[in-house]
């Protein structure tokens, strides 16, 4: 047996667990449920609630000789002398004997339950947690059934305390377990709630302004073992037993966070199934049991009253309702009429099935390679296919000796789950190296936080990569050399890259440089090894899938290079303006609204497939109403190349159809044959075309296995209310470097062009206005990022702007208004956030707006 395993017995059953395991966890491993309230397997133990008291005995030893003392029958003598101990704080030791079913233990459990209920309001009939409540369940299992507390002696406290606009606290229901406080402190790193007062008046209070200011607040409602914390979204909305859980994925972010939507049929929705809440679904390799508040609360767009419900066709200059047949016939006809002057752009939120059929429609149906992402920000899907993080990797495995490089990205704002997981990796000892134009929140956990001058990202990264190749002693004063020494000695190496302040071409160079860093030592580098590789910070949930499906002018599905490239999105928009592109198909994107396209230009025909009447849709000839992700099924591929399924959850809105269905029906009309009848069948075709997806089908993607810690199972109390994953863990596709040799990438030397003047860099904010969030806004309204321009003190003085001034910002021909913040930016850079994406680092003009006089 390994030295690191410790063998003990729990109620007579032997179990061997790693050194350092707590008694409750050891028992759990063999299905012995020691009841807990304050303990949570993802938090440090505190031993507060006293629910887990058990008898713990240790083998006795002779004081003089140190030999174990034996009973007459040769069994070791066990000393239970310390009375009851908390199983959540005691670590296992060899020969330990744990008793969990004895009278004193049962007594203690019943007594602790009785104590907890003395000040509990027992308002289960109107409590959101009722039916899935650890306190309720453990009371049924271990309680005595009645209380000796005189009802009039109960303490009464406030029952509707907003801790912020998202989370409400019921002080009477709180059992002071501190799970919420510890989660915010230990896991989220936002210690914005805490205990106030003492004794029976100990109460949770928010310490931030605005209240409970954290992107993670919703998770506290899952791990709260009672109904004390509820979300503004769900509270008093439904009873748990009325809800149908449906597995889904984040529709926002490339981490591929696993979630569950809980639905219910409602009379007030005309008998439709509607979403009552969104909760995490356990996936220890993806999001563990956490989701950001954006994932939790930004789903209302699916049920927005603004959704398109039927096809629209422009007649006499006006969009009017039409039948599907009519609309589809017009679309097929017009696309074919355009001949080679046809083009298509798509968003990167759609499923693999949708994107694949879009590509089939263009390449096979219309014989055109004019296909691209409508708003491609980040290059390198093809590079990721070579050196992407290896399959079977888990950010949770990174720790001491490992290095994570993050370039041009603010993960806290872009992909919060990764931020959380990297923070934890850093706490386990991994070294984080950030390289950015400005400071981000991850810097706090970084060993090296490097900066580059706007426009010099590639040059700076090149320096880091080059220096990482040479042996350094690690004792350099030069920050880049010091970081290079860290990177050079990495055990495992993971590199993230984003697009903050970079042009598309620059992101490609960054991806290649990082690929080379991973390939160093010519093929014997990190690439291809478990827990090593490249992770792109894609802007949306399925950008990876879009690359895989060939939504690219020069790649067919599976990264097969095309002999002749089509137009890229930029060229298409120019073609639309000049008239060289005659028909444009916009799938789930809004290039006009995003300022990428200046109206419909000289297009003969514009078709938009969308959920909402966006600016582009309003300018279209035909608008095809598409379903949201919760109305249909499909697959998304996350940035770690994990292909995962999501499932239909609610009744489709109006006559809307799934995107793949619409595309198949258009395809049929241009001669692609009978449309596929199910997403699973489209996926079969995907697998045929994309060699990397070989071996996957809807059944294999739905496979799951028991994960540790054991969350969401029958015992809700152990890990909280996050859902157990019973709908699939997905499959990661194998990057080229895992199965063969990958050559180094050529990265052209780029001359550093230094131009005078302030440079504008757009930075991400989680709640930046956009189509989805703006149609879910009621809840997050107050937290939406407002257009903000940050300047250094020196630059602010130069342009004559003070903190709080309204300013007009002009760059690249675009003009925006924003509120100025002074002091948070490096010299020479103007950071703008809360606005749509702006690529690169353009020279910016800033003009102070005259304050309007308030009467």
């Amino acid at each position: 047996m390994s030295d690191d395993l410790v063998t003990l017995s729990v109620d007579g059953v032997e179990v061997s667990v790693p050194k350092g395991t707590l008694v409750v966890d050891a028992a759990k491993k063999i299905g012995n449920d020691i009841p807990v309230f304050c303990y949570h397997p993802k938090l440090e133990p505190v031993g507060m609630c006293r629910m887990c008291l058990v008898e713990i005995g240790l083998p006795m030893r002779d004081r003089a000789t140190g030999e174990p003392l034996l009973n007459e029958d040769g069994t070791p003598q066990i000393n239970f002398g310390r009375g009851l101990q908390t199983g959540c704080t005691v670590q296992v030791s060899p020969g330990m004997v744990v008793r969990t079913k004895t009278d004193p233990v049962e007594q203690a459990r019943a007594d602790v339950i009785e104590f907890l209920l003395t000040s509990h309001p027992l308002d289960c009939p109107i409590c959101d947690k009722g039916g899935e409540c650890p306190l309720q369940n453990l009371t049924m299992r271990h309680g005595r059934g009645n209380s000796r507390m005189v009802f009039a002696d109960k303490l009464h406290m406030e029952k509707h305390v907003p801790l912020g606009d998202l989370i409400f606290l019921d002080r009477e229901r709180c059992i002071q377990c501190a799970r919420c406080v510890r989660f915010q402190d230990e896991v989220a790193g936002d210690p914005v709630i805490g205990f106030h007062n003492r004794g029976r008046h100990l109460e949770i209070a928010t310490l931030s302004e605005p209240g409970f200011d954290s992107y993670w607040s919703g998770n506290t409602t899952d791990i709260c073992p009672v109904g004390a914390l509820t979300t503004a979204d769900f509270r008093f909305g439904a009873r748990p037993w009325e809800l149908t859980p449906v597995a889904t994925l984040s529709p926002h972010c490339p981490s591929g966070s696993n979630m569950t939507v809980s639905t219910r049929r409602e009379a007030k929705a005309g008998g439709r199934s509607v979403i009552k809440r969104v909760m995490p679904r356990q996936h220890e390799a993806v999001n563990e049991i956490w989701i950001s508040d954006k994932d939790r609360f930004v789903h209302h767009f699916a049920e927005s009253a603004d959704r398109l419900t039927q096809p629209l066709v422009r007649k006499n200059g006006k969009l009017v309702a039409a039948s599907w047949t009519e609309a589809l016939d017009v679309v097929a006809g017009k696309l074919q009429q355009a001949g080679t002057a046809v083009a298509g752009v798509s968003g990167d939120r759609l499923s693999n099935e949708d994107l694949f059929l879009f590509q089939e429609l263009f390449r096979k149906g219309l014989k055109s390679n004019n296909l691209d992402l409508a708003n491609g920000r980040l290059a390198g899907g093809d590079i990721v296919a070579q050196v992407g993080i290896s399959s079977g990797s888990n950010l949770k495995d990174l720790g001491k000796g490992d290095v994570v490089v993050v370039v041009a990205s603010d993960l806290h704002e872009e992909v919060p789950v990764w931020w959380l997981r990297l923070k934890q990796a850093a706490e386990r000892g991994a070294a984080i190296v950030t390289l950015n134009v400005r400071g981000t929140r991850l810097d706090k956990y970084a060993k090296h936080a490097l900066r580059y001058v706007p426009g010099e990202a590639v040059a700076t990264l090149r320096q880091l990569v080059n220096q990482s190749k040479v042996e350094t002693d690690g004792q350099s004063d030069d920050p880049i050399a010091a970081a290079a020494a860290t990177v050079g000695s990495a055990g495992n190496l993971v590199a993230f890259y984003g697009a903050e302040g970079l042009t598309y071409d620059e992101t490609e160079s960054v991806a290649k440089l990082l690929a080379n860093l991973l390939l160093l030592k010519n093929g014997d580098g990190h690439a291809g090894k478990k827990n090593n590789g490249l992770i792109p910070v894609w802007p949306h949930n399925n950008t990876q899938g879009a690359w895989d499906m060939g939504i690219h002018p020069s790649f067919a599905p599976g990264y097969k290079a095309l002999p002749e490239a089509g137009l890229d999105a930029h060229a298409m928009y120019e073609g639309a303006a000049s008239g060289t592109v005659k028909a444009l198909y916009v799938l789930g994107a809004d290039p006009i609204g995003d300022g990428l396209m200046d109206g419909r230009g000289k297009l003969d025909f514009l078709v938009v497939q969308e959920m909402f009447l966006t600016a582009t849709a309003a300018a279209a000839d035909v608008v095809l109403p598409a379903q949201s992700w919760v109305e249909r099924e499909g697959t998304f591929t996350n940035a770690e190349r994990r292909v995962q399924r999501y499932y239909p959850a609610i009744t489709p809105v109006g006559d809307s159809r799934a995107d793949w269905q619409i595309l198949a029906q258009v395809g049929e009309r241009v001669g692609l044959g009978k449309p596929a009848l199910a997403a699973s069948l489209v996926f079969r075709d995907v697998v045929k075309a994309v060699k990397q997806y070989k071996g996957m089908d809807y059944r294999s993607l739905a496979k799951y296995e028991k994960q540790w810690p054991d969350v969401g199972g029958d015992d809700l109390y152990y890990g909280g209310n996050a859902y157990e994953n019973r709908s699939g863990l997905g499959q990661q596709w194998v990057a080229a470097a895992e199965s063969g040799k990958v050559g180094m990438f050529e990265v052209a030397e780029t001359a550093v062009k230094s131009s005078p003047g302030l440079k504008l860099v757009r930075t991400a904010a989680l709640y930046t206005p956009g189509t989805l969030i703006s149609h879910s806004a009621a809840l997050l309204g107050p937290r939406m990022a407002q257009p903000t321009l940050s300047l250094s003190t020196a630059d602010a003085r130069k342009v004559g702007v003070a903190d709080g001034n309204r300013v007009e910002v002009t760059a690249n021909g675009m003009t925006m208004t924003a509120t100025a913040r002074v002091g948070d930016a490096p010299d020479g850079v103007a950071l703008i956030s809360g606005v749509a994406y702006v690529p690169g680092t353009a020279v910016v003009q800033i003009r102070k707006l005259q304050e309007e006089k308030v009467a």
Binding site: P45, V46, G47, L84, A108, F115, R198
Partner: protein, 433 residues
């Protein structure tokens, strides 16, 4: 005999540095500065000195737990003194501060600490300021700071005022409070000696404990052991209060009986107003109450064991025949309910519940069932809490039940029909139950 701890009672103005030094002040420090640190710990261990904070843990052994080697270590003085009827540390801080400072410096030298904190009860403003003045004098005279007495040993000393919580006298709650956290204890292990202040090895000692150290160093372990008993050597300051003629702090030699303390003219001078003795709280509110039969027990850490109680911090509260024991239990439980930190369930909920029950019983509104519930609630707290406060809280209840059951019974509502003899009680509003 001259005082060993309350030396200000023999030497006027010993709180002044020059006076203290004229009376062998800081000679013990001078002596240890030339010694191996481990040898200092050994002397303290050999002396048999035990912690005066209440638990009586052997001080030398505690110092010995501190891992050797480099890195920050701390000495923290526990001057939170908030136990009911305790007022000994306050007198030391105010009147004989240098002896405490010297003791702490010796501890710091022995364990290799470069920083000492004194966590002082927030309400002790005057004592705290007097102590701070003594610290300033030390800094001004090379007794604190860099290179103390030219020895190469450096040590800083800071004062910290608590914010008025009894629980912050518990060592881990104290450390949490000192670090700026909520004043709640943590589940031990880790013990402070391994992971204390800022997760570094830390010795937490009571003020009085440290005041014992300079005389031990100066005169040797053997000298110290001639005072007191084998297992409880040395002097002890007793805080005598309640119904005695002469309440106050007394420095006694351990082993003296409670009877002598109460009745001797040198100490309590008997029960006040010529009343009879009824009961005694030997350790403030936190130790079980004892009665007459315990008066001949010696004041040692073990002396009251046969009587089911403890000497604790030796805050002796005397109660005469007029004291209502249910009232007394209610007052104590009120204190513990008010002071419970709320971290663990049995103490947080149980102290609240006990107080509700006791109030009702005391007002004559309790039932037989309330009595049973009270006894059971107290038992259900015992042994199940995170820190000792929960166990303290049940002592006044269970010990009065043991010694004075009739006082509880007498307060219970008579059954509806009282068979002619009992006085018919006027109707009292009964809580809706």
């Amino acid at each position: 005999m001259a005082h060993i701890l309350l030396r200000h009672r023999d030497v006027e103005n010993i709180h002044q540095l020059d006076v203290y030094r004229q009376h062998q002040g800081y000679e013990a420090l001078q002596k240890v500065l030339g010694m191996e640190p481990a040898a200092v710990t050994n002397i303290v261990r050999d002396s048999g000195l035990r912690g005066r904070g209440g638990a009586g843990f052997p001080t030398g052994m505690k110092w010995g737990f501190i891992p050797k080697g480099a890195g920050e270590k701390y000495v923290v003085i526990n001057s939170d003194e908030s136990e009911m009827g305790t007022f000994k540390d306050r007198e030391l801080l105010e009147r004989n501060p240098h002896q405490v400072i010297e003791g702490a410096l010796i501890a710091a030298y022995a364990i290799g600490a470069k920083q000492i904190y004194n966590y002082c009860r927030g309400e002790f403003m005057d004592a705290g300021y007097a102590f701070e003045q003594a610290l300033k004098d030390c800094y001004a005279n090379g007794l604190l700071g860099e290179n103390i007495l030219g020895s190469g040993f450096s040590c800083d000393f800071s004062m910290y005022f608590g914010a008025g919580a009894y629980i912050c006298g518990e060592e881990t709650a104290l450390l949490n409070s000192l670090m700026g956290n909520l004043g709640q204890p943590w589940s031990k292990p880790p013990f402070p000696a391994v992971e204390g202040l800022y997760a570094r090895p830390t010795v937490v000692n009571n003020t009085e404990t440290l005041a014992n150290v300079p005389p031990i160093i100066l005169n040797g372990a053997e000298w110290y052991k001639q005072f007191g008993t084998d297992r409880s050597p040395g002097p002890k300051i007793v805080c005598l209060s309640g119904h005695v003629n002469k309440p106050g702090n007394y420095e006694i030699i351990m082993g003296m009986t409670y009877r002598e303390l109460i009745y001797s003219e040198a100490y309590g001078g008997g029960i006040s107003n010529g009343k009879a003795f009824k009961a005694m709280l030997p350790s403030g509110g936190s130790g079980p109450v004892v009665v007459e039969d315990a008066l001949d027990a010696p004041m040692t850490y073990e002396g009251l064991t046969p009587f089911g109680s403890v000497m604790g911090s030796a805050s002796v509260v005397i109660m005469d025949e007029t004291v209502d024991m249910v009232w007394m239990a209610m007052k104590c439980v009120h204190f513990f309910h008010h002071e419970s930190c709320g971290k663990c369930t049995p103490c947080r909920e149980g102290t609240y519940w006990m107080e509700k029950l006791l109030k009702r019983i005391y007002k004559g509104q309790g039932t037989q069932e309330d009595l049973q519930t009270l006894r059971s609630v107290a038992s259900n707290i015992g042994g199940r809490t995170l820190c000792a406060l929960g166990d303290f809280a049940i002592n006044p209840v269970l010990s009065t039940f043991r010694h004075f059951p009739q006082e509880y019974e007498a307060k219970i509502k008579p059954a509806a029909a009282v068979n002619g003899q009992g006085k018919k009680q006027t109707a009292v509003p009964v809580a809706a139950d």
